[in-house]
Amino acid sequence: MFYREAGQFKTSYKADQALFPILQDRIGMAVILIIAFVVIPAFANDFFLTSIMIPFLVFALAAIGLNILTGYCGQLSLGTGAFMGVGAYAAYKLTSIFPDANVIVMVLVSGVFSAAIGAVFGLPSLRIKGLYLAVTTLAAQFFLEWCFIRIPWLYNYNASGAIEVPRREMFGFIVTGAEALPITRYFVVLCITAGIAYLMANVLRGRIGRSWMMIRDMDIAAELMGVRPLRTKLMAFAVSSYICGVAGAMMVFFWLNAAEPSSYSIRLSFQILFMVILGGLGSLGGAFMGAAFIWILPVLLKFVPGLLGIDIAAETVEHATFMIVGALIIFFLIAEPHGFARLWQIAKQKLRVWPFPY
């Protein structure tokens, strides 16, 4: 009843092929965008912006990147963290080589470098499949991490071995560095994430996206039908790494402000993989939901004991958070292995037929 699409007639191919063909979806999307662009900036405090929204959007973008590779093209990767690192280091080098260039352009360009590196590490995927491939992407993870430490040129020979984000302005607003207001950084991150998500939503339902899905579902069959596996797989690796690279660059430029190689460790790869799987493989909305669950839930859990007036040690909360998150991951996998995206579909179906379930 709430989600009834009866009566919404399409009179042109264009209307039928629209990104959101159903009216309710359009309304829902509009509400989400209004909340994101108007309500949150108007009411949220700094902590909410810097520690919840910005990381959430950065992770959501990274999850979209990995989702393209794993969810849409079926190539399991555990090297996401390193690809994000490539983006971060590339953006850092670019801003120090071209100090006057627009920092957002630099962040977007940095993804090209991680796309190139991603494509190189994607080469074995032609021969190696499934979990074996996952382990070989670990080679990329550890090798690149080693490079971040061992190639001082990458971090401009800083004695600290870390990259630090300098202050950059754009249209009179400080967008990076410590003085940048959370709200400015939030808007930049929001625009980039929303823009890339919109772009990918269109790419994925087009020819390229479909060929990725063919490779995922059965690569030999796809090959027989004229999809070139080499090109398609490498393109998936490149696009995925590009997005992850941009996310990685945003992570250091708009969120952390400084990063050590260990910020892009294997743990980050797992974090992103969790988001993708829990959110739902092969779903852009799922990437957002997964990112929200994995990032926001632990942050919120920290506040629970304080509010309930229970005085427990900080580390106990941390232990409890680990246990709860671990248990919830298992629980959700059991309850719905296809992730939140599927839960949302089920909910949608319920709303559609409510109050007369059949």
């Binding site: 405090n45 700094d46 902590f47 520690s51 800083n158 004695a159 743990r267 919120l300 839960l343």
Partner: protein
């Protein structure tokens, strides 16, 4: 579908409760000084982190219990668990800074680097005691960052000086081989430029052995290399699980332990104890007291541990890292006290705290007053020098506990200081426009 419903309700409740916490305005206490402690009792570095966290917490708690706080104002303590993880470190910072935080002690090089540019913006000083960015010692460039009593470069120069003493003079270092085993991260790499410079100056050969973070507990290759190269001395810059493993491996290849010297972060009691009997003779630098034979520690025992206000295991009081945590808190407490004296306010702000730390003068008399005579070398901060390059001593493991094995050794300030200033200048240039110092100097 029952699952589904429960799930939805459970999730809604959890999110709701959490959100109110996030959105609730930070309660600014008017009658206490708020000190957040970024600690880690979990994760791969917990082994070192727990003792430090205990020491920091217990001393400040003791001041609350014994004296009712500092200057008659209680301290409000809050621990935030970072797990030595940069993401969580920033989150802890953002969560606590709104509550009127006076000072941050990140206990992680990565988190320190993230906080350094924020410190001047949010007007909250960062106290990275003996770690973090060495260049921050230049108070003119980094008015908000304090790394008393020493930087890593001070430490590296002390090690070389000490080795020189053992060999009967620095000139005898010529032709010697000194191995440097370090955690392969910014932390371990920082001393290398100075060590290379010293190697050139005194004619010894510097051999480097990097231990990647993921391989902390798997060091047999590094130590096989050590065995092949046969260095005369080994110097270690390790942390967390790297330390005990390195000591065990050194014992294994029968390296003479009295020629194996660790930085002050490789000086934990558990680290050395892991090597068993073979670790006897292992040395490490230190700048905080050895043992629990100090009146202030007895007060902690009485007012905090015996009163059940802490999770500290009584046996660990007096351990190197525990005492390090205590010293950290002593500096915080003295900073607050000095700030109160300077401003005449009882409840101070981060800006006052910065003044207090900059005017810090912990002399013999004051240490004795605090019940910590001989616990640390008297230390003084000036506006130019936020580290102070204070003397350090070498302690030695006798198989059961640490014993002081040398007098206080002055760092080679003449070499270190120009390096620090150059590094500070470079940092400011790379992060241009870096704000010029406008903060007044209290001295």
């Amino acid at each position: 579908m029952r699952d589904f419903k429960q799930l939805a309700i459970g999730a809604a409740v959890a999110v709701g409760v959490g959100l109110t916490g996030v959105m609730a305005p930070a309660a600014q206490a008017q009658d206490s000084n708020y000190v957040p402690l970024l600690t880690y009792r979990t994760g791969p570095y917990a082994g070192s982190g727990i003792h430090i966290a205990n020491g920091m917490h217990d001393y400040l708690k003791m001041l609350n219990e014994r004296d009712g706080g500092i200057g008659g104002v209680k301290l409000e303590l809050e621990e935030c668990e970072t797990g030595y993880n940069a993401q969580k470190g920033v989150e802890c910072y953002e969560a606590t800074k709104g509550k009127g935080a006076l000072v941050y002690n990140p206990y992680s090089t990565g988190i320190t680097l993230q906080l350094i540019p924020k410190a001047s913006v949010d007007k909250i000083p960062v106290l990275s005691m003996g770690y973090g960015l060495s260049a921050a010692a230049d108070g003119n460039v980094f008015p908000w960052v304090f790394n008393v009593p020493d930087t890593y470069w001070d430490g590296a120069s002390v090690v070389i000086k000490y080795i020189g003493q053992q060999e009967g003079g620095l000139e005898n270092l010529k032709g010697k081989k000194i191995g440097y085993i370090f955690l392969d991260a910014g932390y371990g790499r920082e001393p290398i430029p100075l060590l290379e410079q010293l190697a050139e100056k005194y004619g010894f050969e510097l051999l480097q052995y990097a231990v990647p973070g993921a391989e902390m507990q798997n060091q047999s290759s590094q130590w096989l290399n050590v065995r092949r190269d046969r260095p005369d001395y080994m110097v270690m810059w390790g942390w967390g699980a790297m330390n005990p493993t390195a000591i065990k491996e050194a014992v294994k290849i029968r390296f003479p332990m009295d020629k194996f010297i660790g930085v002050w972060w490789s000086a934990g009691d558990d680290d050395a104890a892991a090597g068993g009997d073979g670790a006897k003779g292992y040395k490490a630098m230190n700048f905080s007291g050895v043992g629990s034979d100090f009146p202030a520690l007895a007060d902690i025992q009485e007012h905090v541990i015996d009163a059940g206000l802490s999770s500290t295991d009584a046996a660990s009081v007096g351990g190197t890292l525990y005492n390090r945590g205590v010293l950290n808190s002593v500096i915080i407490a003295e900073g607050i006290r000095t700030a109160q004296e300077l401003t005449g306010k009882k409840v101070i702000t981060g800006e006052d705290m910065r003044m207090g730390l900059e005017a810090l003068d912990l002399d013999e008399a004051r240490l004795e007053e605090l019940g910590l005579k001989g616990f640390a070398h008297p230390m003084k901060v000036t506006c130019e020098d936020h580290a102070g390059s204070h003397p350090v001593f070498i302690q030695q493991w006798n198989g059961e506990k640490w014993q002081q094995a040398s007098d206080w050794i002055e760092p080679m300030t003449d070499l270190v200081r120009p390096l620090l200033e150059a590094a500070a200048k470079e940092y400011a240039e790379k992060n241009a426009p870096w704000p010029a110092r406008t903060e007044p100097c209290p001295n």
